[in-house]
Amino acid sequence: MASVYIPVQNSEEEVRVALDQLPRDASDILDILKAEQAPLDLWLIIAREYFKQGKIDQFRQILEEGSSPEIDEYYADVRYERIAILNALGAYYSYLGKIETKQREKEEHFILATQYYNKASRIDMHEASTWVGKGQLLLAKGDVEQAFAAFKIVLDGDRDNVPALLGQACVEFNRGRYSDSLDLYKRALQVYPDCPAAVRVGIGLCCYKLGQFEKARKAFQRVLQLDPENVEALVALGIMDLHTNDASGIRKGMEKMQRAFEIYPYCAMALNYLANHFFFTGQHFLVEQLTETALAVTNHGPTKSHSYYNLARSYHSKGDYEKAGLYYMASVKESNKPHDFVLPYYGLGQVQLKLGDFRSSLSNFEKVLEVYPENCEALKALGHIYVQLGQTEKAQEYLRKATKIDPRDAQAFLDLGELLITSDTGAALDAFKTARGLLKKGGEEVPIELLNNIGVLYFERGEFELAEQTFKEAVGDGIWLSFIDDKAYSYANDARTSMHHFKDMQLFHQLEEDGHFVELPWNKVTVLFNLARLLEQLNNTKTASILYRLILFKFPDYIDAYLRLAAIAKARNNIQLSIELVGDALKVNDKGPNSLCMLGDLELKNDDWVKAKETFRSASDATDGKDSYATLSLGNWNYFAAIRSEKRAPKLEATHLEKAKELYTRVLVQHNANLYAANGAGVVLAEKGHFDVSKDIFTQVQEAASGSVFVQMPDVWINLAHVYFAQGNFALAVKMYQNCLRKFYYNTDSQVLLYLARTHYEAEQWQDCKKTLLRAIHLAPSNYTLRFDAGVAMQKFSASTLQKTKRTADEVRSTVAELKNAVRIFSQLSAASNLHFHGFDEKKIETHVGYCKHLLEAAKVHCEAAEREELQNRHRVELARQVNLAEEARRKAEEQRKFQLERRKQEDELKRVMQQEQHFERVKEQWKSNNLNSKRKERSQIDDDEGGQSERRRRKGGKRRKKDKSRYDSEEARADAMDDQDEMEDEDTNMNHRESTNQMNNQDDDGEDDAQDLLAAAGLEDSDAEDDMAGPSSGNRRKRAWSESDEDEPQDQRPESSPVRENSAEVQESDGEIKDDNDKPNGDAAEDDED
């Protein structure tokens, strides 16, 4: 064992101090040293020995004593040793400062260290070791540039100064100049081949950083040969092993880490890697332990960042998002440079996304993207966030980019597709199809939800076959197949009678009894529903109804299935059954707005106005007025209410219209793209006469409504046509009506035909008008109004033909035929009115019959006249021929100048002919005057008729009579010309018809006219008080019914009033629409679950 010898002062003796037996109390040895004034190098040796033995206090005590001012004084000329002592202290404090984690103590240590070094410099400012020490200190403080300067000073003096070389190597390493650093390390090794193994660690790290992994590995291995306990080398090798990324490498790496941990349990690096490992093996407890230790032992930013990241990740995977977020945040704070360590940003982004903090999440993912602009995960996450933030365009951009970067990422296509569903169904379909293709190619099972979405999109685009295929693929195998393919045919037919009961489940019970397995997995319900919906669209209502019932059999709470069954029943006009089915749906949820709305529609169909309004109200209330359909229905209700009134209450009408407008507007405010509300608003505007505005609205709605099978809006076509009609653009109106009929109704809607006829009528295209009405009668045989209208059209045709100044006998003959037809139609109506109640006043019809008969008589005269005229014309032709002959003869005569006598004879003949013609002319005059007479006679006859009518009316009494009277007065005054009279007669017809309906009511009401007026007045004050107004509801209802038939009149004076029924049609249509809306959310919901 080594010992030192302290020379005893003034003697030759020496005190021997065995270094391994240094006294515990350093004061003993200090006393000796002081007493013997031992050379300072001995002080240093002893202090160093204490340090080596871990007796830090003693070490410090000796050195502090050794650097005290007395010593300075005493050993003033011993410079080197004093510097060495100071440098030792400086190095000691630098080290303390370096390892100290608390900032304040750290500072203090560094200050002390600085003081010592400065003191050393004061003794000799060229001492290299001091500069090296200073350099180390500066390095420890992180002041790389100044450290560089310090080491440079040393190296300038002695380019082989090993500590300085090492220091400088370290500086260069920190500056990232690894090759420079490597050179320096190498030089140090050359100069001092026996230097500690740690130098080779430096070389290894440089090589590693330079990408020379093999060299690095060798260097580390060499270190371990020299010093098997070198933790850094172990960790470095471990990391390199781990990075080989194969199982054996990882295992070796982990073994090394473990050894490093056993050797030195406080190496943060090793701890992090171990933690990382345990994270993947799922031992979260270990992860926490290890990272917490790592955090405690290091204050190196990136390492800490890594530790926090490990911790956060652990919490993240355990679902503790709050904590995970905090640690990710800490990790981000530690590294602060996304380029160095981007993972925590990603993690933080994920956690924030999960916690709903989209903005922060967004910025974090964007940082990830800065580092890795092509990172698909980050792109998808960003896309998702933008969706949540409602910036769909940005979202699309990101998702599109993601799909472009990785065209094999099915999930990205899925996301993109879902995003596009609302905006661009075609693109969405493409995206979904790609996703499906990718999944199939990858051998993965295609999720049902994806197939469902694809199916729905095909459905929406009208590609029904593809939709059906897709849905079938999605539902896969099951009991339903036998229904779809009719294999359970015998059962279906056994249940044949139940087919109509829609509610019957016997089919399924029977199947079960027979040992069939009637099962329906929950995740297939939506698809099956959609399939049924598709079958419905394909008119296979039989199978559709079985599928709906199958759904209900297994999931009796599936309201939509009830509603679809109800809709099927409704489409077949089985209102009672439909109401029952909706009732079942309401049993499941008595506040379901969809069910309530449907019920309201059905009640409207049943003419149950008050009930319908209440139902719509409660539907609206159930959703806090947010359900646009309920609001729309209420709007429609008010609109109907406005125009059903008997045209006697313009104020009431205005109130209802205003209310309707308000409701439509409310819907539009909530959903500015609601076609139905826009249509409604357009109707109200048209009703008020703002045709140009309403035309714009209708045109836009029409454009928007095309392109999806889920949006069928014939109403807007009709409304547009009405507007054209009202503006007098008959040709366009006709075209529009015809297109609408063809496009939406398979030409079966007699009502639209009626509109068409009305347009022809106004355009004076009598034959078209008549033909159109005949078609309408053929479609709706029991609608007598149509017959009446046909009669009127024929009458009008005849009258107008007779008024023409020039007409052929054929024309007149056809006029006569038409008049006969008209007479027959009117008389049939008159006869039928005995049998049935069709809303026409018998007497009025008789007036028509009378008028037509008169016309007929007149026409007969006309006819004769025309025939005679024709005859005359024929004569004339004959004459002309004769004249020609004569001319020729004359020419011949002139040529020959021989037969003068003959010529004279011929001239005589010519004269005679002329006379004859004049005679004819006179006769014609006579006839004309005859005509006038007959006209006059006719008129008086009609006046008589009218007189009769007013008399009848007088019986009814009341103020209306007066009105009528005055109207007739003015009429008579104007009835000078035949033409006018015709016109009046028509209007009159119309008015009378309306009157007649009133009269019917009056008869019913037993002259309760006034009472009703009062009621109407009551309703006037508040349209909502409508309910009250409906007191004598039966009367009211009937009146509405008749007012409807009133509208049917083509001669209706108010063209705008015809949009009436569109809205009723709309109500029907839009329930389908609502349904479809439901369909998709269903699919999406399932999708969300999947997420």
């Binding site: 009719d486 045919y489 037919n493 044949r496 009678t497 087919m499 109509h500 008119n539 296979n540 209502t541 039989k542 489409a571 077949r572 006009n573 089985n574 209102i575 109704y745 398979y746 030409n747 079966t748 033909k771 005949l774 078609r775 009668i777 053929h778 045989p781 029991s782 007598y784 046909a790 035929a817 006969k820 037809n821 027959r824 139609i825 049939q828 006869a831 039928a832 005995n834 049998l835 049935h836 109640f837 069709h838 009937r1038 019914a1041």
Partner: protein
């Protein structure tokens, strides 16, 4: 079981063709196709080339129904003005003009023996029976009104009779009405028997199966064809598939198939064993108002023929095999 298009005549009439029936073959000539149109004419066509044989005028306001006597000698046509014209097929001589005001005239059919012409009487809620020898009205089979309804009730209108069909044995008469109910009458006793329910929209066409006198097929605006046991009052089956109203139904002479014409512009052939549409013909451009299978018989004519007429003014002939 399939249809193959043989011949189509575009613009066979100047206007929509609304009615079609086959005049059975006589000794002197084969079966002819009889069509009626909105253009107020009734035309006779010779198969298979559909050569126009005759063009009968005289109706007003569009011909809604045509019917041929089983003998093939006389036929009847009816128009919207509620006149029925009975005429000699070969000479076009008018035999009788029938009307029974205020009842209008819709579908009509001769009974299998040819002694009675049954005419659907529209709003009179009845079927008018005419003796084919004397051309006198012999009976009116009225649908009983529900007791509750008053004569002034609007509901009375709903029993508007549109269609008639004789059972092959001539004992039963079925009629379809606007409200979708089908009424069955016992002809011999002139008695209403019962209603068949299931449709809630107009039933425009009815036909009995030639092989089973109990089975009745009905075509309705609800897009369905129903198959009833007319005696047992029960619905045997419902066939859906048409996208719009089913306007006409006829059953093949072998009783194995029915053909339907619809507003959806198609003619469908249904296999009665499968109770499913086996074929859809889409050659028409507008509503198909009538389909008719040619009755068997005639000189050596065994091939099945189906004719269809449409709003697109055309007539089509198909081979049925």
């Amino acid at each position: 079981m399939k249809l193959a298009g043989l011949k189509s005549i575009e613009n066979a009439h100047d206007e929509s063709v609304w009615a079609a029936a086959w005049v059975p073959a006589t000794e002197s000539r084969p079966a002819l196709l009889l069509t009626g149109s909105l253009d107020e004419t009734v035309k006779l066509w010779m198969p298979d080339e559909l050569v126009l044989q005759q063009n009968n005028t005289g109706h007003c306001l569009g011909v809604v129904a045509v019917a041929a006597h089983p003998s093939g000698i006389i036929a009847a046509s009816a128009s919207l003005d509620s006149f029925v014209r009975v005429f000699d097929v070969d000479t076009n001589a008018t035999i009788a003009t029938l009307e029974a005001p205020p009842s209008e005239v819709w579908q009509m059919q001769f009974d299998p023996k040819g002694s009675i012409l049954a005419v659907a009487g529209g709003s009179s809620a009845s079927i008018k029976l005419w003796d084919t020898a004397t051309w006198k009205l012999i009976d009116t089979l009225a649908i009983p009104r529900p007791e509750s309804s008053k004569p002034t009730d609007r509901g009375g209108n709903k029993k508007f009779v549109l269609s008639v069909a004789w059972s092959p044995d001539g004992r039963r008469l079925a009629c379809g009405s606007m409200d979708g109910t089908i009424s069955i009458f016992d002809v011999n006793r002139a008695k209403f028997l019962h209603h068949l329910e299931g449709h809630y929209m107009p039933v425009r066409s009815l036909v009995y199966s030639p092989v089973d006198p109990r089975v009745l097929f009905s075509a309705s605006d609800d897009g369905h064809v129903h198959m009833y046991d007319a005696e047992g009052k029960s619905l045997i089956g419902a066939m859906s598939g048409h996208a719009s109203w089913v306007l006409s139904v006829d059953v093949s002479p072998d009783g194995a198939a029915i053909a339907t014409g619809s507003s959806d512009k198609t003619v469908r052939l249904w296999d009665l064993n499968m109770r499913a549409a086996v074929q859809t013909m889409s050659n028409h451009a507008d509503q198909v108002w009538g389909v008719a299978f040619r009755p068997p018989g005639g000189a050596g004519v065994r091939a099945g023929r189906l004719a269809s007429v449409s709003d697109d003014k055309s007539i089509s002939l198909y081979d049925y095999s």
